[in-house]
């Protein structure tokens, strides 16, 4: 657990739009250890997906990675992924760091059979000599992701498959090159609940089988409790709290994390209304001064409006960015 595989330091991504500069994420730093499941949690638009995409420079114009370092450790060597040229980073995408995207309906190209698309991922990293050979291998990969009847399914097109099956295919594409890190960007949001459970089990299974590290992005606290070893809570482009999953759920320190947990229904406690966090997510073009959560925070004081809180370790492995801890 002490073996760092990914080290993110001061990652800052800005989007240069006509309305102004959107500071999507600022000074995001975290480490991911080999073999763990690290979860990034936060509400819509807090910068979880941007963080995940920035790791392999997948940020599209008008977005730009302003500063930061992402060290990828492998066999004792470390590479700064953000310093690599497009040609070089391409070798890491899919092979070392693979993605599973949110919406399986649209993350597969409608014009190609699923076998071709798995094969394409293999072919891109020279795992197979031809697309044809890759399609034969795709059968095995589809079997690994528990696709029923994989021999038949390889020649199916995405529209012929259900949402859950498509997500199995995208997971298959993700694991096809034995990546060291699997980034699952809200893998279950577009699926219904029963399929969600299957897909989460599958990701766990794949993680166990291939010993991959999983970076899980979600807004579902239930998924976090089920899957994650450590959790980083993001708010308005910053990490506000980072700890192992037990500390987050048992003794959250940051008021935002507390609010987030209160907003999750608990079947054991009968209440009339769920508590919500008052106010809305601030505009990231002109974020509030000081702590970005201060307009919505029940504990906000003078210092919260004046000074940006730093992410500091309060307990062993429990980091919080708050003046009132």
């Amino acid at each position: 657990m002490t073996d760092k595989v990914l080290e993110v330091k001061n990652l800052t991504v800005h989007f240069y739009t006509y309305a102004g500069v959107v500071k999507a994420i600022e000074n995001v730093s975290f480490d991911v250890y080999r073999g763990e499941t690290f979860a990034l949690v936060g509400e819509t638009g807090c910068g979880k997906s941007v963080t995940a995409r920035a790791l392999t420079q997948l940020i599209e114009s008008p977005g730009r990675i302003v500063e930061g370092e992402v060290y990828y450790h492998k066999n004792g060597e470390s590479v700064d992924l953000l310093k690599l040229e497009e040609e070089e980073i391409r070798k890491y995408r899919g092979k070392e760091i693979a993605y599973i995207f949110q919406d399986p309906q649209s993350s597969l190209d409608p014009l190609y059979s699923v076998g071709f698309q798995v094969s394409e991922a293999l072919y891109a990293h020279n795992k197979v000599k031809s697309i044809k050979e890759g399609i034969r291998k795709a059968v095995d990969i589809l079997r690994t992701v528990l696709m029923p009847d994989p021999e038949k399914r390889v020649s199916n097109y995405p529209h012929e498959l259900s949402g859950g099956m498509k997500q199995r295919v995208t997971i298959g594409i993700g694991i096809s090159n034995d990546p060291k890190i699997l980034i699952a960007d809200e893998p279950t949001t577009a699926l219904d609940v029963t399929v969600q459970a299957q897909i989460l089990n599958l990701i766990k299974e794949m993680k166990r089988k291939y010993g991959a590290t999983v970076l899980l992005i979600t807004h579902d606290m239930g998924v976090v409790a089920d899957m994650a070893d450590r959790v980083a809570v993001m708010y308005a482009g910053k990490i506000v709290e980072l700890a192992d999953v037990f500390s987050i759920f048992k003794e959250p320190i940051h008021p935002y994390t507390e609010g987030l947990l209160k907003a999750v229904p608990n079947p054991l406690i009968k209440i009339e209304r769920l508590e919500t966090i008052p106010g809305t997510v601030p505009s990231l073009i002109n974020p509030p001064s000081g702590c970005r959560f201060n307009p919505r925070c029940p504990l906000a004081s003078q210092i919260c409006r004046a000074k940006i809180p730093e992410l500091e370790e309060v307990k062993n492995g429990h980091y919080v960015a708050c003046h009132n801890r």
Binding site: R90, Y92, F101, E120, A124
Partner: protein, 379 residues
Amino acid sequence: MQEIHEGQEGQKTGEEYQRSILDRISDFFIEVLVSLISTVKKGWREKNRSRVAEWKLMFYALNRSPPGVIGLFLVTIFVFLGIFGPFLAPYKYNYFPIFENGDTYLSPPGQFFPLGADHFGRDLVSLLLQGARTSLVISIIVIILGVPLGIVLGLVAGYFGGKIDELIMRITDMFLAFPPLILAIAFAAVLPERISYLINNNPLLQQLLLWLFALDTREAGNLSRLLAVMIAMAIVWWPGYARITRGSTLTERESLYVESARAIGLSSAKIMAKHILPNIIGPILVYVTLDFGSVVLTEAGLSFLGLGATPPIADWGRIVYDGSQFFPKAWWLIIFPGSIVLLDVLGWNLLGDSLRDVLDPKLRRSIEFKVKRKKGEKT
């Protein structure tokens, strides 16, 4: 369960439908084509059964729109004439009966020839048939040169965005700022001299062009003007395609499967060629068909203005131009070539219009519902 099964079978064979005569004709041609492919590639028919059924259904849908049938009919005739016209012509385009018999000078229809003669005393039917070849070859080459250029530039501009996009699209705007005909005139007027040098030094190119236009070796000197028109039109034609390709690329680039393709480490060129282009090619192909008519028209317009083909090379626009000096006495020199151009352009436009309906999956479904099933099955 049984019914669903039957429905699927029906889609696979196409036998379940009440077919009209037109459907039977199109089925016959598809069957001939499929047999031809199957003899070359064993087992092709078995593998592509659903694809063949899809083609058949596409034609059923097309057969349900009268303008589409008329368009297809006209286009087929003109393509056929474009290919075989020069061989079907009763006289060669460079046969001047006037040298033997002075009476054929501007002879009216019916006197010596069914559609009359031009001021060189040549048979108008033969000229129109020869002109079909000229028109078809020029149009196809303009499309072949201009469209891929526009598509590549549009893809690059749309995919990379930013400064590259600005650069390519501003150049495109510069071309679009001039009326296409005027720009084509400018190029067609300037180019021939440089091109004649090129043609004279490339006997192979010269032979190819002579063969394409079904011309005599004697006409080698006039080829440069034909080639100049083609190049001038190709230069004018690509910006439209760059625009539509860029527009479609911009929407397609945002789609998640393009991002997934980037995430598995594919190169930009591969993403553009394999994932973006195939997804946007449908509308572009329809646009090509719609556009073919305008290419024919512009070509006729250019030669009407005296650019492009020169006598004795036959060209519809040129015949109208030469005939205009003898109007209204020799009305047949204007009415017949003019109507031919009209029908050709009309054919391409009608076909393109209904192809758009047929190739658009949403619109096509509504057309397919008009195709009735056999055995009183519910539609």
